[in-house]
Amino acid sequence: VTPESLAAVLGVPTRARGRQDPASDPDPPAIVDAAAIERLQRLGGSDAAFVGGLLEIFARESPRRIAAMRAALERGDAAALRFEAHRIAGSCRYVGAVAMARTAGALEREARAGHISGIPPILDRLHAEVAATLSALEGTLERTRRSS
């Protein structure tokens, strides 16, 4: 188990991110990056449904990716696990789902290292993050829409 995967399971930043004492930081780690949503809104321009459409895809695809990872886990297929983790991490980065991106990144690293036994808790965490992330993304989108 790598420090990153442990941190992902625990939902805390790693030391590598420069936080020596999590207890001293009052702000919880961000689930979403509002700036990413703003960038996407700018990209969408007059297409008001653009970002909403992306979030719909994200909401549809994330459970599928997680299901595919569970299947790969059952097969003990580290390569497939790594591939799916890489894929979902990419999607997360695009929409600003930073927490899920971190977790998926940790999952990818574990799979790459062949630490299959360390994967189930990270996968569970990723699964658990989906709903909160979607909610946060939609909330951020709503706020961004209101402020623009």
Binding site: G53, H86, R87, G90, R93
Partner: protein
């Protein structure tokens, strides 16, 4: 630009599609590598933006396939990856990628990269267009560089080469006319080499150098016992040149009786060996040449009218050297290089003054005379540069004029011939060579001018 987006992540695809579309480009989206490859072949995009990791055909392999595809224009490839790890950039470049982006691709950054892509593909397209134009121009100018030893880019020579190419595309009997030494045989050889008969033989006969009976036997062959000395059957040039080209030089010297036989051979495409009862089919292209005015000979009755029209279906006039002085330097350089190579000597150059003498001379013996003059110069030259004094005397004498020029130039011609005979110790063969005329012509001139070389 038409931009192919290849990514198995539908979110990435949608974002890139939007970014590309907003920039005014035409996006084509593929959800996996194999589909991207199909779309690439179908749509021929200008730019490919591909994810590195995809199921099936990955981004690297897509890169390699794009680079290996025989497209006309350059395709700019941007590879996208989740992480920038050491080693993956060189790998991407090696596979043929032009650029490298890390997810999430920032639309603003993509704008910059696509601007670069646009400039580069435009540059490549212009370069390719320029190369095409250069190749076309080169092809257009190719005759100027000479074909099969025909040197010269002057307008008269370009016209000759154009006509040679035209003649080579057909099977028409071609007549090459021009003064002695203008390169008629070279022209005939070029025509043969440019034609579909190039793999067949090229045979040449000087019709003016042989008596009628011997020429007939030479052209059509004979059977054993046909005449005294015909000890065995012998194929003539018409048969020997089958599948190729027969060059009949000095065609104006063929007697009317033999003209008729040649005419039949041309029309019927069959010949009869001397003394033979049978005819034989022949497949030969005739290229004839003369330095005589055949029309005049027709009027005088020396050339049959039907023969005249049959051999000059397509006429190419080789210009005299005095009418293509623009080629003189190229010709001189060619001969100097050729002679240096055959003598294993360094290539000599011409001094400015020597070149001016060459340019001022009328060259009655045309290219043959030029070659001989340079050969003469190489014999006497001291050092690497040919000076005026190294050139034959006729080039250096004041008021140099062609012996064949309008004034007739009898005295001058006599002087030139005597000079040549003196230089060559009375050798008519060598004198004719130095004068750039045939032995027969020299003999005729000697007779006309009353010169006795033995005296």
């Amino acid at each position: 630009m038409k931009i192919l987006i290849a990514d198995d992540d539908p979110i990435a695809c949608r974002i890139l599609e939007q970014a590309v579309g907003r920039l005014g480009h035409e996006p084509v989206v593929a959800g996996e590598g194999d589909a991207a490859w199909s779309l690439f072949r179908r749509d021929a995009p200008d730019v490919v933006i591909s994810d590195w990791f995809m199921p099936g055909l990955d981004g690297l392999e897509l890169c390699r396939r794009v680079r290996a595809s025989p497209g006309q224009s350059y395709v700019y490839i941007i590879l996208v990856t989740g992480t920038r790890s050491r080693g993956n950039m060189p790998q991407a470049m090696e596979a043929g990628a032009d650029d490298f982006l890390v997810k999430p691709v920032d639309p603003e950054e993509l704008t910059v990269r696509l601007n670069v892509a646009s400039r580069i593909t435009t540059l490549y397209r212009r370069t390719a267009h320029a190369e095409e134009r250069a190749a076309a121009l080169e092809e257009h100018l190719r005759p100027a560089a000479g074909i099969e030893g025909m040197i010269g880019g002057s307008e008269p020579m370009r016209d000759v080469i154009r006509r040679l190419r035209l003649a080579a595309q057909s099977e028409v009997t071609t007549l090459l006319t021009g003064e002695s030494g203008t390169g008629k045989e070279l022209g005939a050889r070029a025509l043969h080499t440019l034609s579909a008969r190039k793999s067949g033989p090229f045979l040449a006969v000087n019709c003016g150098a042989l008596p009628e009976t011997l020429l007939e036997s030479e052209l059509f062959g004979h059977v054993k016992g046909a005449f005294t000395g015909a000890h065995q059957n012998k194929a003539g040039l018409f048969e020997a040149a089958s599948g190729g080209t027969l060059f009949m030089d000095e065609i104006g010297d063929v007697t009317p009786a033999l003209q008729l036989k040649v005419l039949r051979a041309l029309q019927e495409r069959e010949i009869r060996r001397v003394g033979d009862a049978k005819t034989a089919k022949v497949d030969v292209r005739i290229v004839a040449a003369t330095n005589k005015d055949l029309r005049k000979l027709v009027a005088e009755g020396a050339v049959r009218q039907d023969f005249f029209y049959r051999i000059r279906v397509f006429e190419i006039v080789l210009p005299p050297l005095r009418d293509r002085k623009d080629d003189l330097l190229a010709l001189a350089s060619h001969f100097l290089e050729e002679m240096a190579a055959s003598r294993a000597q360094p290539v000599r150059s011409l001094s400015h003054e020597a070149l001016r003498l060459l340019m001022d001379y009328d060259w009655p013996g045309n290219i043959r005379e030029l070659r001989n003059a340079l050969e003469h110069a190489l014999v006497v030259v001291e050092g690497d540069v040919i000076q005026p004094q190294d050139l034959p005397v006729e080039l250096r004498s004041p008021g140099r004029r062609s012996a064949d020029s309008a004034d007739g130039g009898g005295a001058e011609e006599r002087s030139r011939i005597l000079d040549a005979l003196q230089r060559t110790g009375g050798s008519r063969v060598e004198a004719a060579r130095q004068l750039g005329i045939s032995r027969v012509t020299l003999w005729k001139k000697l007779k006309r001018l009353g010169i006795d070389p033995e005296a």
